[in-house]
Symmetry: none
Subunit: 211 residues, 4 copies
DNA sequence: TATGAATGAGGATTCATTCAT
DNA sequence: CATGAATGAATCCTCATTCAT
């Protein structure tokens, strides 16, 4: 029913990002978004099914573009290491360039309801897949440890990227996020590297804890 | 004003966890929590200032116990590696033993409003500090790379722990979370290890991307 | 302003009947009627002043035709009894032949607002007049009791006709409405007949009720 | 969930009748009803599930009392004719005594939606049954024509009663409704009588009713 | 004449919190 | 200490109507 294209569609999404970043999710009424987008309240509903749909569409639209740009950049370089570096760099760069979007995706969208988060989940999976493809390539090229579950490595990579951006937003973006590209790259590449001759010598003892 | 002790105080917190885990954050009205705790609605307000205070107190209480248990277990072992292992093990174990709490902290509480999340943030910092102390120790013992920012390593460790638990909850806890202790340990220890002679040879080119 | 003639005028009225019969009064938006009539929303307003005007015009148009047909049929027969029979027969027949119109006039239009029902009332009066003319004739011919108020007899006749059709519609038109022509005719003719010499012997006591 | 008893329950119903009679159904907001009943908007929802439920409950409550009073009065007299007379008398009297209720049931409630009218239908059936019981008795006592369908006679009786009251309301209650008891009685009794060889000799006396 | 995208006023309902008992 | 009935502010969405094309 809702027409998901056109100038106003994008105007409403951009307005929603601004309003939510400024006022927080729970204080972003439809009326506020409409006013920011310079359309009538009712016009919102020509382009979105309901308020939740604005948020889901917002995330879907921005995240798709995001993933697409990361994928393109990753294709421009050849080695696994370079691709990983591009991933981290692009991830941080995009949020650094759009602080409002960073606030919305890292903070405000997480307090939305189950339906929204499920709508978001679908889009997020595409990003997860992109990362998993990289991990797969790393294992094939014998750069990454082949014994570790791909999904787990993806979670590790995504977890550190996400946590790093969230911390940066929480600290009011007071430092340069892009300055963390190299150390994060180092942490990740070190963590997943297959260094051949090395061995894990630590004997894991069973925990004595009784909770 | 609110008396934050007593049998009913804890009954209300436990009721809140059950209700939120079952119904989701946005469908957990004060009346439902009161009914589950077998007290009157008004009684809630003898023990908590407002609804947000229930959630913040809930997180504070549970997280403090959580951090305390982790700290105690970490003190039982000596080496940095063992301590790290205990941290990961305890982190996963506590959520594995209390699925309701896992749902609440990993999913539902994240959709609360800014005030609650700030209240939570204060408590979370204690956990962050615990991790940072471990990192500091690792650097002093020359087990961890000394050139990487402590806070960044903490973010990496916390990020992967958090993302791993969240993914496990999102997958309806269908697999054994404790089975991930060892691979996660491996990823982390590899990532932060100072292996001496190695060198990073990859030349980072500036990204040509134009966003 | 509104041009109340033309092909589209009638197309819109017919569309309105279909849409209202199918969806119910409160779920029959202008857009739906326009779509059914294969015109644009705005076109509606070239032919009707507003939405209410569609409904009033609908009723007026259909009811005028209705009354006219009844009148013509009644003129074809001579006796008062025959005319009464024709009235009942035509009343039932027209609704039996147009179920959608029956639903709209007996059910849906009654839940319209005061203005519409007043607009309808004007048209209904013509039907009332037709019935009253019949009653007048009956009295003149000394077939009907002359002492009963004409308007009351008309109400009685209209009441039973209307209630009979409404009940039939409410029962999903599961039985043959025309099968009721004869018994209804009998009830009415019996009720209004002047049998001359008769006397009422029943003594009405004052009611003892205290409400 | 909604508690359908108590002082406020009845206060809200009485307020709803006044407000709807005065403003019309579509201009009777919940806030207006609450104000008239001297309760808060939210209090309405402690006693009623939703706005429709107010109307259904209103009709159910009033109609049940109504039917019960009619039934009681009918039991006080013995003959079928007397019972019929009481039915007509009580029907008119109750509306004559409560003009607001008359407006609501005859006019405003008919423009409510399908759900409400279905809720009303259940209650209305009890009245229909009462009338049908009378008709059944009349046939057994050989006062009414045994060949006419009971339901049809009931429709005829209800139809004329309902139409008479509706017409009276539409004419702004400018004349004495109780003055119509006797002529309506006459119309009905004549219509349904099995006279065999007998003849009706009833002299219409002027109504003595003074409301 | 005809279109249909845009408008914006209007209302039922929820639920955290209070306070008389 | 405890109760729970009562409160009332706050908001998403619908849809009749307009008007630039």
């Amino acid at each position: 029913m809702a027409k998901k294209t056109g100038e106003k569609y994008h105007a409403i999404i951009d307005a929603a990002i601004k309003v939510i970043a400024k006022n927080g999710y729970h204080n972003s009424q439809v009326t506020k978004i409409a006013r920011m987008a310079k359309v009538a309240d009712g016009t919102i509903y020509l382009y979105f099914d309901n308020k939740d749909d604005i948020l889901i569409s917002l995330f879907r639209t921005k995240m798709s573009e995001f993933v697409e740009r990361v994928r393109q950049e990753m294709e421009l370089v050849k080695t696994v290491e370079e691709k990983l570096y591009q991933l981290i760099y692009m991830h941080f760069k995009q949020f650094a360039l759009d602080p409002d979007l960073a606030i919305v995706t890292q903070i405000e969208l997480r307090q939305s309801n189950r339906e929204i988060r499920e709508g978001i989940g679908v889009t997020l999976k595409k990003y997860h897949q992109l990362i998993e493809e990289l991990v797969q390539l790393g294992i094939e090229k014998e750069k990454f440890h082949k014994k570790i579950d791909i999904r787990l490595i993806r979670q590790m990579i995504f977890g550190i990227l996400d946590e790093t951006v969230t911390s940066w937003v929480m600290k009011d973006m007071k430092y340069d996020l892009l300055g963390l590209v190299q150390p994060v790259y180092f942490l990740v590449i070190n963590g997943v590297s297959d260094k051949g001759e090395e061995e894990v010598t630590y004997e894991f003892k069973e925990s004595k804890s009784r909770i």
